[in-house]
Symmetry: C2
Subunit: 340 residues, 2 copies
């Protein structure tokens, strides 16, 4: 079982006594090679088990047909549906996709960007980690000339497009829904304020309070990383507050579920004692008991649109580049955790 050296176009050329450039052109179906020769080359390539070396090809052509995708965590339903949208669109256009997860760590995100640049990807689609509070790696990518684009979790970097949902509206809808269901003292679980999405969801929360003339109290906004454990801890904190809390809007489903489990153990009834709304519509939210009201984000569509925009930018010959902020609609899905 030897690792035989891989066949190259030179091996094919030698076997047929022709030049490697002709082999290359034949394999790329160039009109400059006669059909007869193409047939001979293809059949010999097949016989020798030839497999194009994309490292060499891409190096010479100074481009790749790979786009990199960086998400915080592939296991989140929202991100995996975005990835499906990306893959479908990219695939149709002949691009490959490299999926990477930052696991919410800035260090990993920086490393990933470095690796993608070193591999000379054609472009990058990116949803930043919760720790991302400095942008050197992204500015570096920009100066490098590698096109990239934010989806969902974005940063304010001049000249970079993004595909987002209206988080202010989402936060507003969630909060208004709680108010309309009779909640007066509503806690909000928020994430790192470096991320616009959390800032905006919080802004939506405040906006809804204002509309209904409910005073905003900053001690009702609990900041965390929004993991399940954070939700449980938030729930505990919430019970210790001086006000009787009757509503909870969590900036993601996972933390909402952490809180639900904690409440369940404490004998607190949902939605009767506390009504709860999450964000992102994880599959788990539909089956948990009671089912969790949440904000649905069109992940697949975000993936499709992001990819289309990125590919446009990659293929743009001119240096006139239009920066676009695409904002998609989210929608409230009403379930049992808030209905009363």
């Amino acid at each position: 079982m030897f690792v035989e050296n891989k066949t190259t176009i030179h091996d094919i050329a030698k076997a047929l006594n022709i030049d490697a450039s002709t082999v290359s052109r034949a394999l790329n179906n160039s009109p400059r090679v006669s059909q007869k020769t193409k047939d001979r080359i293809l059949s010999k390539a097949n016989e020798l088990g030839y497999q194009r070396n994309l490292l060499a090809s891409n190096l010479r052509k100074n481009k790749t047909n790979t786009i990199g995708v960086i998400v915080p965590r592939i296991s989140r339903h929202f991100f995996s549906s975005v990835i499906s949208g990306i893959e479908e669109t990219a695939y149709d256009e002949g691009y490959n996709v490299i999926i990477c997860q930052s696991l919410e760590q800035l260090k990993r995100e920086q490393d990933i960007v470095g690796t993608l640049l070193a591999n000379r990807v054609a472009g990058v689609l990116l949803s930043v980690s919760m720790e991302t509070n400095e942008y050197d790696h992204l500015l570096n990518m920009k100066n490098n000339g590698t096109p990239f684009l934010f989806f969902d979790r974005h940063c304010d970097i001049e000249g970079i497009s993004s595909v987002l949902i209206d988080d202010v509206q989402g936060g507003f809808d969630a909060t208004e829904h709680l108010i309309l269901n009779g909640c007066k003292n509503i806690v909000h679980f928020s994430g790192p304020q470096e991320l616009s999405i959390y800032k905006n969801r919080l802004a939506g929360y405040i906006k809804a309070l204002e509309k209904y003339k409910i005073p905003y109290r900053s001690e009702l906004v609990l900041h965390s990383s929004l993991m399940e454990i954070d939700g449980a801890e938030g729930a505990k904190t919430l019970l210790s507050l001086p006000h009787r809390i009757d509503g909870l809007f969590s900036a993601n489903d996972i933390a909402a579920i952490g809180a639900m489990k904690y409440f369940r153990n404490e004998g607190i009834r949902i939605p009767d004692d506390i009504a709860i709304v999450g964000f992102s519509n994880e599959p788990i939210s539909e089956v948990i008991d009671p089912s969790l009201t949440t904000i649905d984000q069109p992940g697949f569509q975000i993936g499709q649109i992001s990819t289309k925009l990125l590919l446009e930018e990659i293929n743009k010959s001119s240096n006139l580049k239009k920066v676009k902020k695409t904002i998609l609609k989210s929608s409230l899905i009403e379930r049992d955790s808030s209905r009363r």
Copy 2:
């Protein structure tokens, strides 16, 4: 905003009036370059925003430090936990990971293998799609000399190692558990028989029936793709069977959940009328009501072990290669869907 040409070692060499080979050695921290020169080169590289071109480097070195991972679907919790294990181990050893999903389609799996080979990955970790009933692409990879290894969903290819769980035992445990909880007429949802894992889970089911002298009836084994919709349809079929079914062992959680939802709508009580056991321990199974008894697979550990074995094979200098079949233990997690 121009896309400036990227800096190369030649640019650095020219700027410092030294040879590119010295720059290359300095950047690789070779002992053949003086510290003084290294400092000058590093600082100039930094100044010019140099970023190594891995395409060129890998081409020259005839190796990459990237391993490819092919899973049916990244959104399945089992696979994303395997991926976490893979990434952690690979990262420690200085390898990058390309994650790809076949979406259960043979065609996509073939394309992915082709792309990974063309990109000259150092090795591949693979869990095959449900459609994979012919192995040309895998044999091609083998003949190519690219090391690879199966985890979980494997095929019988001589000379290829695999990291698996004991699916026969898992199927046996699940079925025995139902029997011990008083079930007499147990249906089994199975997947494509081309995949050993489903054949083995079925074998475990049969083995448990035999142990308890319950006659095996092939009409109680329903084959499908084990998606949620398949579970619902299976549940419907099951209700139309002449026997009164009192137990269900599904070869994955998703189909079990599809069935649970159908039963719930039909007013059938779980576990009183039908006790249910799934397979894989998806997070959703813990929160669904009633919570789903299932077989837990050590995904993270599977990822770690697979990667270690693959890297061993990649770094093996000799051509003596030991083929290994590593079998890990699964464990039954007893929950409400089967307890009575």
